[in-house]
């Protein structure tokens, strides 16, 4: 087990993210890609994701302000957003986007709006949690030294 208390804390935090359904297996894929050449790969990807997806969120916001709803467009935005979210393993966010798309397909404007609010909440929550996680990870020091027994 982790000797470093911070490492331990980090591990616990990480595990809870999975247990609570915020992250899924895809996040592990990202972690496995992290190596000496890219020691902060996961954080970089997540940062990129939040930066790029903000644009999509804005698009959806604006589209939801125009009545009647252009469901095709909304679906298109959400399709992109879903792809992005799934690639970093954002499980809850992905689930909300799937639901949103269902409502789009059935032309349910109410459902879309409701789901979108929920989506934004999950999106923001995940961001906060990951930010805390990465911060702790930086403080805890490189994983390798902690993992490899001396």
């Amino acid at each position: 087990m982790e000797r470093n208390p911070m490492r331990r804390q980090l591990a616990v935090m990480r595990q809870s993210l999975f247990d609570q359904g915020y992250l899924d297996e895809q996040f592990v894929q990202l972690e496995e890609l992290q190596d000496d050449a890219n020691p902060n790969f996961v954080e970089e990807v997540v940062t990129l994701y939040y930066r790029d997806s903000a644009r999509l969120i804005l698009n959806v916001e604006q589209a939801l302000e125009r009545k009647p709803f252009d469901f095709n467009k909304l679906d298109g935005y959400m399709h992109q957003f879903k792809g992005s979210s799934s690639s970093i393993g954002a499980k809850k966010v992905k689930a909300e986007s799937t639901l949103f798309r269902e409502y789009c397909k059935s032309g349910n404007g109410e459902g879309c709006m409701r789901t979108f609010q929920q989506l934004k909440k999950e999106y923001a929550t995940l961001r906060k949690k990951l930010e805390a996680y990465f911060q702790l990870a930086r403080q805890a020091g490189p994983m390798e030294t902690a993992c490899h027994p001396k």
């Binding site: 990807v45 790029d52 997806s53 399709h79 792809g83 690639s87």
Partner: protein, 680 residues
């Protein structure tokens, strides 16, 4: 970050460099595989890049399809495989897939978060070698090298088929087989590759393993030479060895030619929408058509001839078309095609076939025009003469066809095409004797194809004719249609195919005509078959209907750059059981032309059509004249064109008559068909 082509993170620079220069270090494969990944999502792109690097591949990433295409074009041999997202803002992923398949013939893997069946199917029909569902896992990327290997192996196989495989190659192939069967057998792979390397050193340089083959850049000129050689030999007889001899290009090897021939065939097949499994150019169509073709009116013959003429359109034009098509966007290739078609259109002088507005609608199928490609280039003049009458009508159809987009009518074009190939062969000379082949047999299938859904009504054949506008394929169908039109109710019957009501300019029609003409020309039987055709129509309406019913055009099917129309025809053709090869083979040039026509129709329809029309007119004139004299001439020559029309002659004729051919010059006397009417 678009061109971060760093060496594989783990592998040394030498391995990737070695991969590139051809001195592949066998045991490093698949390390160093050069992957181009295209995705507009930066997050996904970043992740994919990292994953691919981890697999030791050499990655270049790109967030725009246009950029990717540029990169690929600039450096045709710079990549081994492409991975592309489906949904991209600047270009549809499937379109990119088509371009890559045609121009570079690289394996392409599609990706999407969308895992719906129809999307995945679209990937298949567009030629993707794999489809990954996002989020992509690294495990899925680890084995993408298999697609590269598989593709090259198929190219080797093509060598074998064309009889150019040397023993050394065979050995290599066998060793490859053993290794490829187990992707985990890296060890075996290495050893076999080593063995191949040894052999390679002793053998000619070019006989290296497929993976290490140095690629030849097929420039437009080179491709033109290639096409010229192929047309001279005849699609059926074009073997790499002979092509190589004809081309007489120093430094070019048989393997280069063979692999290019393979791609060329695939390209034509794609255009005509025929399944790739039909390698034989000897279309079953032809044979079946022979029997079934009723006596096509002289129109058919004429059409065929024109088609033939047009199809044969100077190798250069075709070559250019093809090169253009192969090397560039289809839009470019569009231009040449119209030329061909137009000639056909004019050649048709079928009063009965006056497809009026109705037909025009059907003409939409640009794709159909492409189908023309399938029309054998060797259209016998005689057929032209016979098709003369039908040509007119068909011509109208053609025009319409071109103008129309993917109409169900496309099917008809398919039919037409089908008819054409058949006609080609045989009996052109017989006005009546042979023609039947095509019309009847062709008509049916074609009709069904093109008409598929719509045709059911009339004889099917008539419908085809109408449909001409539908598909390039319709050309063949147009041929068939011609006869039909006469007999059947065609006139006015807008092609049920789904003709698009607004038939655009004449030019489009003309294009259609050309196609139609060409179609008709092809089947030598056309001429005579016209009559037969009519008979057939009558007898077969039901058949067609049935056939049509059977034809389920899947609009979403693979469309050869035509846009869907071809797909239909493809499916139709396939359904019909016609050998795509035959169609393709015969109408290579036509195909190219039709492709061009399509492109033209799609984009600059009018403009191109006009040009084409003019050219075609001139061609037609030439052809008609020739046709007349050779009406009953020997239909036997498969390549009528070469006999009758030198490619250069055609070309020059075409070019000279840009202004259009005076009707008087047209022996075919396009009744009521005035060149001037071609909208520009």
């Amino acid at each position: 970050m678009n061109s971060s082509s760093g060496k594989g993170s783990m592998s040394t620079a030498s391995s990737s460099a070695a991969w590139k220069t051809g001195d592949v270090v066998p045991d490093k494969f698949p390390a160093g595989l050069r992957v181009l990944v295209v995705d507009d999502d930066p997050t996904c792109l970043m992740i994919l890049e990292k994953m691919l690097r981890t697999c030791l591949y050499e990655v270049t990433k790109c967030n725009r399809a246009e950029t990717a295409l540029c990169m690929l074009r600039e450096n045709k041999n710079g990549f081994d495989i492409v991975i592309s997202d489906v949904h991209m803002p600047d270009m549809d992923g499937f379109k990119l897939l088509e371009h890559i398949g045609l121009e570079m013939d690289l394996p392409v893997i599609m990706m999407s978060a969308d895992d719906g069946k129809h999307v995945v199917m679209k990937g298949v029909t567009h030629g993707a070698c794999d489809y990954l569902i996002k989020p992509v896992r690294i495990e899925a990327l680890k084995n993408i090298w298999q697609h590269v290997v598989r593709k090259r192996r198929n190219e080797w196989k093509d060598f074998e088929q064309s009889g150019s495989v040397e023993e050394g190659d065979r050995q290599q192939k066998q060793s490859e087989d053993a290794d490829y069967s187990s992707s985990a057998n890296e060890g075996n792979w290495k050893s076999s590759k080593k063995r191949k390397d040894d052999e390679d050193e002793t053998d000619e340089r070019d006989d290296t393993s497929s993976l290490k083959k140095p690629r030849v850049v097929w420039s437009v000129e080179l491709h033109q030479q290639f096409v010229t050689a192929v047309n001279q030999l005849g699609i059926d007889k074009a073997v790499p060895k002979k092509i190589l001899e004809l081309m007489n290009v120093p430094g070019l090897t048989r393997e280069n030619v063979a692999s290019h021939l393979q791609k060329y065939r695939l390209y034509l097949r794609r255009l005509s929408g025929v399944s790739q499994h039909q390698g034989n150019l000897n279309n079953p169509f032809i044979s079946s058509q022979e029997t079934t073709f009723g006596p096509l009116s002289s129109l058919n013959g004429l059409d065929l001839q024109t088609l033939a003429a047009t199809g044969q359109l100077p190798a250069q034009s075709l070559a250019t078309l093809q090169a253009a098509g192969l090397g560039r966007s289809t839009a470019k290739s569009g231009v040449p095609l119209p030329l061909v078609d137009q000639r056909n259109i004019f050649s048709f002088e079928n009063p009965k076939l006056r497809f009026g507005e109705g037909q025009q609608q059907h003409m939409n199928n640009n794709k159909q025009i492409n189908l023309l490609h399938g029309i054998p280039t060797t259209m016998e003049p005689k057929q032209l003469a016979s098709l003369h009458h039908t040509a007119q009508s068909i011509g109208n159809i053609n025009m319409q066809v071109t103008s129309h987009g993917a109409q169900s009518g496309q099917n008809s074009s398919l039919l037409m095409q089908m008819a054409q190939p058949q006609a080609r062969g045989p009996t052109l000379d017989s006005t009546v004797g042979h023609a039947p082949r095509l019309p009847s047999s062709m008509g049916q299938p074609i009709l069904s194809n093109g008409i598929a859904a719509n045709v059911s009504t009339r004889n099917g054949i008539p419908e085809n004719i109408r449909a001409p506008g539908y598909n390039p394929v319709s050309q063949t169908s147009s041929m068939l249609n011609f006869p039909m039109n006469h007999t059947s109710e065609l006139p006015g019957n807008s092609f049920p195919l789904g003709s698009t009501p607004g038939i655009s300019s004449l030019t489009s029609r003309r294009a259609f005509q050309e196609e139609v003409n060409s179609e008709i020309k092809v089947p030598s039987g056309f001429m005579p078959s016209y009559a037969i055709f009519n008979d057939l129509n009558q007898h077969k309406p039901q058949n067609w209907e049935l056939e049509n019913v059977g034809m389920t055009f899947d609009a979403s099917q693979h469309s050869n750059s035509l846009q869907g129309n071809l797909d239909l025809t493809q499916s139709v053709l396939v359904q019909q059981g016609f050998s795509s090869r035959q169609v393709n083979g015969q109408s290579r040039s036509a195909a190219v032309v039709s492709k061009a026509v399509f492109s033209a129709a799609d984009g600059t329809e009018h403009v191109i059509a006009q040009n084409v029309n003019q050219h075609l007119d001139s061609l037609l004139v030439d052809n008609t004249i020739r046709v007349k004299s050779e009406r009953v001439a020997d239909a036997s020559a498969a390549n009528l064109f070469p006999d009758h029309f030198g490619q250069e002659d055609l070309m020059s004729a075409l070019l000279k008559q840009q202004e259009g051919i005076a009707p008087a010059e047209n022996e075919f006397a396009f009744d009521g068909y005035s060149m001037d009417n071609i909208p520009g």
